[in-house]
């Protein structure tokens, strides 16, 4: 499904939506919108071959966890269209980016505005950390590092089934600290899973602060390449660069795109909070006002009324 808007316009819409939510709710995963807006806009608007959403535009209430007796159970994958042989499948690995994912679904017309008003409300499926049943999600990724392995398993199965569709993982760089990621790359290279690809939001941030100060992981491009995957490093705010990277040949091996990003792209005023950007909660009413005024200006909107 192609949106009538350009990916750049969608990215701006994502930032505005997440910012508005942050001001109104006195906090949000805001820096993640800054770093990943272009990637998510591009994935949904251009890169992924997805069918129309088959999920309700206004998300269902929480329908219970999977169990033998829960007949109503559904994951949130329906927002990404039907799961058929030819369509791509998206695994959304960093569940903490959920708010950005929901904003994206709204911007590309897969979920209605009301979806975001259900965010983090008791009894809602639009959870703060994306759950399997949350819009756009298909599995729990709140425990970081399991997404790529799962996608590798799906891609392996799809190869056996001769399916045309690819399996894509949206990831973040913090999870590269988990050993499982490297096990997953190892296995997907060994099994030549060229129907698997990932784009990693390399914003160099984690909960405790800048990754370089928490646990530096060194030259990830070199590491991934030496593990045998095709790794390409780009400016993660440059959509043209994404298009080119995706077109790179990677026969017989998975493609991993490192999207180098800034955690305050489009909201320079956020720099004042560096290096604690994982979750932005205002320290005072004064800070909230100031952020509202300054960042609204950067985003080209009127200050948010709250």
């Amino acid at each position: 499904m192609k949106n009538i808007l350009s990916s750049e316009q969608i990215a701006l819409g994502i930032r505005r939506r997440v910012f508005e939510h942050c001001i109104k709710n006195n906090g949000a995963y805001l820096s993640q919108a800054c770093s990943s807006a272009e990637q998510l806009a591009w994935l949904y608007n251009e890169a992924l071959h997805l069918g129309d959403s088959i999920a309700p535009s206004i998300p269902d209430e929480f329908q219970g966890v999977p169990s033998v007796s829960n007949k109503n159970y559904k994951t949130g994958a329906g927002y990404n269209g039907p799961n058929t042989k030819d369509y791509d499948r998206l695994i959304f690995a960093p569940a903490h980016y959920a708010l950005v994912a929901y904003a994206t679904l709204i911007e590309v017309g897969r979920m209605s505005d009301e979806g975001l008003s259900m965010f983090n409300k008791d009894g809602s499926s639009v959870e703060i950390i994306g759950a399997e049943h949350s819009p756009g999600m298909e599995m729990h990724n709140g425990t970081l590092g399991i997404g790529l392995s799962t996608a590798a398993g799906i891609a392996y199965g799809r190869k056996l089934n001769n399916e045309k569709g690819e399996t894509c993982v949206f990831m973040s760089d913090g999870e590269l600290q988990e050993g499982q990621i490297w096990e997953a790359i190892q296995a997907s290279v060994y099994y030549k899973l060229d129907n698997l690809w990932a784009i990693i939001d390399v914003n160099e941030q984690q909960v405790d602060g800048a990754m370089a100060d928490v646990l530096d992981i060194g030259d990830i491009n070199k590491k991934i390449n030496s593990f045998g995957a095709k790794c390409i490093e780009i400016d993660g705010h440059d959509i043209d660069a994404m298009r080119q990277a995706k077109n790179e040949k990677h026969d017989g091996r998975p493609l991993i795109i490192l999207a180098r990003t800034s955690p305050y792209k489009g909201m320079d005023f956020l720099k004042t909070r560096f290096p604690r950007l994982h979750y932005v909660r205002f320290k005072s009413e004064d800070e909230r006002n100031k952020m509202n005024k300054e960042i609204s200006k950067e985003l080209g909107i009127d200050p948010i009324i709250y």
Binding site: H140, S149, G157
Partner: protein
């Protein structure tokens, strides 16, 4: 003389999986150790070598199930939950993936010590929502485990016996069923896994002792057949003895204790097994004796219940079946 079946798992898995093409045989670098080497060689397209990377193996298996396949994971029991516990929950248990986890070397059936001995696997697995938990106790049960595990719409963990396995039962394992091996009314003896064979060593000595023992063999830990057990416990005179190749906390003994307390039954319970201790490496015979869950420990427990000595000496018990460490039926790797 008990029939010993050589590598019943290897043969029965091959038979079952070769007829079900959506089954994928996963192995965590323990292919011959889990008796699936012949299957690998004959059906390479259905075999997925995962190497020594259990975290990836669990999530990868979840992904395979998401694309319509049924992975049978082959590894030692310990490696299926200790290291990749998080992945087991998030990638397999929560989403109820049709993944069958075949855990070899249950409890102290390995001389390889603490790192290889799955002594709390049942405790862990039975507390995980959506998980089905089965333990095999003889060759017939091992032969029927693939078909039974695969009949479950959700994840299954199985304790598998390998190598030379005794045939104790004529009828195949049916999930949820409880086997009654001896009827009686004084003491209820409940055993599982290798402890059933061990308990049977005491059978001949207990005849003509004036005690009547109701002996049950349990293979399905979850879903547990509570109704049936409740009825049998209620009608027993002296009390209950459980005997398990596992910690007494969290496994069979605890399951029975939960039922007794839930229903307010006034019955004594003696739990034989590993008493809140790790084990070390050694033979099955040595370890069950050392840690007090061999046939003689069972006799001692019965004596406690009846309050008198039975005049049975250790040498009166049926001979222990000694496994030849270097026999052909033994996999080469620990």
């Amino acid at each position: 003389m008990t029939e010993i079946v050589n590598k019943p798992y290897g043969a029965s898995f091959k038979k079952y999986a070769s007829q079900n093409k959506n089954i994928l045989c996963l192995s965590g670098d323990l292919t011959s150790s889990c008796e699936v080497d012949i299957f690998r060689d004959e059906y390479p397209k259905q075999f997925v070598s995962m190497g020594m990377a259990e975290q990836n193996m669990m999530s990868f298996a979840g992904g395979l199930a998401m694309s319509g396949f049924t992975p049978f994971i082959h590894t030692f029991g310990v490696f299926a939950y200790r290291r990749p516990y998080d992945q087991l929950l998030a990638s397999i248990a929560y989403p109820r993936r049709r993944v069958r986890i075949m855990g070899f070397l249950p409890g102290i059936t390995t001389p390889a010590g603490m790192t290889h001995q799955a002594i709390e696997d049942i405790a862990v697995m039975r507390t995980i929502p959506n998980m089905t938990v089965i333990e095999t106790g003889d060759a017939t049960e091992v032969e029927s485990i693939c078909e039974q595990a695969d009949s479950v719409d959700g994840p299954v963990y199985c304790r598998i016996l390998r190598g030379g396995v005794p045939r104790l039962f004529d009828s195949p394992l049916k999930i949820g069923q409880i086997r009654i091996l001896n009827s009686g009314s004084d003491i209820l003896l409940i055993t599982s896994g290798i402890c059933t064979e061990e308990a049977l060593r005491a059978r001949a000595s207990l005849i003509n002792q004036g005690i009547s023992i109701l002996h049950l063999h349990i293979h399905t830990f979850k879903p547990f057949n509570e109704d049936k057990i409740l009825d049998l416990i209620s009608n027993i005179k002296l009390g209950v003895i459980t005997m398990e190749n596992h910690l007494v906390n969290g496994g069979l003994g605890t399951t029975i204790a939960e039922i007794i307390s839930k229903h307010g039954l006034s019955k004594k319970l003696i739990k034989l097994g590993l008493q809140d201790t790790f084990a070390h490496g050694g033979s099955k015979q040595y370890l069950t004796k050392y840690y007090g869950f061999d046939a003689y420990a069972l006799i001692n427990s019965i004596e406690k219940f009846i309050g008198q000595k039975l005049n049975i000496e250790e040498q009166d018990l049926e001979k222990v079946r000694i496994e030849n460490v270097h026999s052909l039926s033994k996999a080469e790797a620990l």
